[in-house]
Assembly symmetry: C2
Homo-oligomer: 227 residues x 2
């Protein structure tokens, strides 16, 4: 959901950003479990993930939790809405971010390229969120899990011949809260995919997509394609 801004775009817009530490930009570590910001915080800085994985969450008044997104290296965090963040953000793994002052964004005239880049990123994020709508509104459990794995494979997968390998660093409960299921149902769906031979799970974290085309078909709703 958090949209990756190509390195190049950011560099173009703000060459100083990734090169050295000034009052506008610096890099720092976020240990696993630590919060980068919390819902409602005034936005004074934006962040670009350089390593590790973050989790964006919101809580309802009645205590239900929704995982909005996971953020991987390259993703931008901290987009404000009316000057404030609209979700909690904590690190799932030890992570590294570069940050820069959000004040520079107030005036489009002084940094039009950054505005353009941010607008593009926001628009792309909207488009991706619409896909997520489809999932939450219309897909079955197995389709949701297949979709999730499929997007992880695209996002962080390492090619392994025809296959793809990657690590699921987030706990099952987070996946469940992200795709609108319970942990149990996520488990069962993973098991089903495993028994179908679509994926292989070595230890809890490590996933190999054995049949990418089957996974994709399942994600798109061709239920009878397999299983």
């Amino acid at each position: 959901m958090q949209v990756s801004l190509p390195d190049q775009t950011f560099m173009d817009a703000y060459p100083v950003l990734t090169r050295n530490k000034t009052q506008h930009s610096n890099s720092f570590a976020v240990p696993a479990g630590n919060y980068l910001f919390r819902e409602g915080d005034p936005v004074s800085r934006l962040y670009r993930v350089t390593s590790g994985v973050f989790r964006l969450t919101r809580l309802t008044e009645c205590g239900r939790r929704q995982v909005i997104a996971f953020a991987f290296p390259g993703d931008i965090l901290g987009f404000p809405c009316e000057g404030h963040t609209h979700s909690d953000c904590d690190a799932l793994t030890n992570a590294q971010v570069s940050s820069f002052s959000a004040k520079n964004l107030d005036d489009a005239k002084t940094h039009p390229e950054l505005h353009q880049a941010l607008l593009d990123a926001a628009l792309r994020e909207i488009s991706e969120m619409q896909d997520h709508f489809m999932m939450l509104a219309k897909k079955s459990a197995i389709e949701r899990v297949a979709t999730f794995l499929s997007s992880l494979a695209v996002r962080i997968g390492e090619p392994l011949g025809e296959q793809t390998i990657f690590k699921i660093v987030m706990p099952r409960a987070d996946i469940a809260d992200y795709i609108g299921l319970t942990t149990e149902t996520v488990c069962r769906s993973l098991t089903q995919l495993r028994k179908c031979g679509v994926i292989k799970i070595d230890n809890i974290q490590s996933v190999v997509v054995l049949k990418p085309q089957a996974l994709h078909a399942l994600a798109e709703g061709d239920d009878n394609k397999c299983c």
Copy 2:
């Protein structure tokens, strides 16, 4: 989901827009049922709804339909993602829009205020979409319908003492595809709300919210508050 841009913002950014017809701006009617644009169209113009209601939809490869949003007067339509629209858009009622060339947006330097306004609108939309995530992922049928009615009341409701009255111009099937239910379940939930005395439905379209606080409580998940 489509976020309203206050009149004033738009006027500031583009005084010419709402005042007369130039090559950059003009106003025209869209009869009910007509498409304003379709998914994948290259974005050459943006639109601001001045009257009527629009429907934004997407179709999956397997034919399932998702209603992304409804757009009311004041909302901006046609936000591009990488130069193209990412949904179909048609008019639910006879409608009127003002349009202007999207080319003017390519360069933030020449129209920084408009960029700022669009960025703000996009960020606000992201925030609202996150709320919709919560609904689609976590809420029960009655909560979804209550949430939908509640937001309609805020968006287009006319105060009537303590109560609120408004018209549901979209068919039940569209509501269902918007909040992730079936038409039958939407009906049943409406009936339940009616029997509880939370709302009143005169003819199919006209709704009166008799107990706004109860509706809001239901929307937020206080299921035992009523019914």
